[in-house]
Point group: C2
Chain length 265, copies 2
């Protein structure tokens, strides 16, 4: 089953796309893990998790006891000795929370976390991501912070496809170009561009003209249903059926779905 | 002169607000330093810096020779000994690029940078921010990554006011609540909420109802001029005069401007 990363400038709609794609693939019968890697996590809200379920979600890096049990050191103990290959295979089942077929895991903020950071909490996150990417039976969607700076070379190699979300404007397209460059260096095999907040043909032309030759996998309109769903705390997949249909088309276009048809609300 | 931090969820308009506010205060006669602390910097674009000027902007953390000269270690040498109080007082003049009265500095991405990270590049950034915040004659506007995680307690103490930008929706309001909590802990003296992408009275009511009692300093409408300026690479201050007027009103409302009137295009 596919391992997917979603990247792009802050606010372009990474979480929107990740959340709807997760539901689309769950509706296609896949077991989906949705990973929120943003330090300010909001994927659960886009997925429409009810408050009582969200209350059960604890970001992995905040589980001090778990981190100590598995690595031998507590979060923040960067000088301490700790295991670099902690056991993580039971974490997805034990600590994810499921709703409408999507299993949500929040990574949380690691103070001082970067590609080269060695600390107990970062070690457990990296082991967990690598483990999830190597599982055969499950679809994994990772909603990244912005780019792929936090993916190591080994982790990136296990990603099957990355979607880079852009909006009409030079700023998100410039950030996308940087992300694409790094993703190419890391050897991510399939890179797809997705346009969001499109107001019409002119916006699409503008975006196509700034993709440096990369093909657009599809586009999503600027849609007030997205704002309304966010205000009401509803799952975007349910609140914005047109958006869901378009994300499904993108999943099909890029080979994530092969079955002839999938029920979309 | 005031030292200002701008925070909020990715994509709510932190850079939009920072860039326009920088121009508003420059128009009021202040010497303004605008600091882009985002790993994917786009403040120069919002400020409308021409391409030939942007080509001169080098993020501080990429200046390996400068970092070695000042700290005694090159970027990435986290194991090496290096000075924890590098000289930085000449950096703003030497490495900022100015346009329309705003001096731009890009911080760049420090791999492994967090509140507690000790490495040559993070050390120079922290020294630089602290230095800028202590300068008496200059206004400083810092466009933050998302929240204030990267501000140490000492640095935060020198910030006079923080603006937290929100948009209609539970996601940005949830992130804002987290930011406000941390800012209070750090002792930032004045915290102002700014609503962006407002479509009408209902959006404003929604936002007011989710601010946990904090007062809105003002609001900005959802404005297609912002999208157009981003597509054309124009300074938002020039391309969106209504927005500029509203930001000026917020600056006045929150005590940043005392003079009776300021020319706005």
């Amino acid at each position: 089953m596919p391992k997917i990363a979603v990247a792009g400038k802050g606010g372009v709609g990474k979480t929107t796309f990740s959340g709807v794609l997760a539901r689309v693939l769950a509706a296609a019968g896949e077991k989906v893990y949705a990973i929120d890697a943003d330090p300010n996590p909001t994927l659960g809200q886009v997925l429409g998790f009810p408050e009582e379920l969200m209350a059960q979600v604890v970001p992995i890096v905040q589980m001090a006891d778990l981190i100590e049990e598995r690595t031998g050191a507590r979060p923040g103990e960067s000088g301490a000795y700790f295991r670099l290959n902690p056991r993580v295979d039971d974490i997805p089942e034990r600590f994810s929370v499921a709703y409408q077929g999507v299993h949500l895991l929040e990574m949380g903020t690691v103070k001082g976390a970067g590609a080269g950071c060695v600390c107990p909490e970062n070690t457990i996150l990296r082991a967990l991501v690598t483990h999830l990417l190597l599982r055969e039976r499950e679809t994994v969607i990772m909603d990244m912070v912005a780019g792929v700076e936090h993916l190591g070379r080994g982790t990136a190699a296990a990603v099957d496809a990355m979607y880079v979300v852009v909006e009409p404007g030079q700023r998100s397209l410039g950030v996308a170009a940087d992300i694409v460059r790094l993703a190419d260096e890391l050897g991510i095999p399939a890179l797809w561009m997705v346009a969001n907040k499109v107001r019409g043909e002119q916006d699409l032309d503008f975006i196509r003209g700034h993709l440096g030759g990369r093909k657009l996998a599809g586009w999503l309109p600027r849609d007030d249903h997205v704002v309304e769903a966010d205000m009401q705390g509803r799952a975007l997949y349910d609140a914005a059926p047109e958006l869901a249909r378009r994300v499904e088309a993108i999943a099909r276009e890029t080979g994530l779905i092969h079955e002839p048809s999938v029920p979309v609300p």
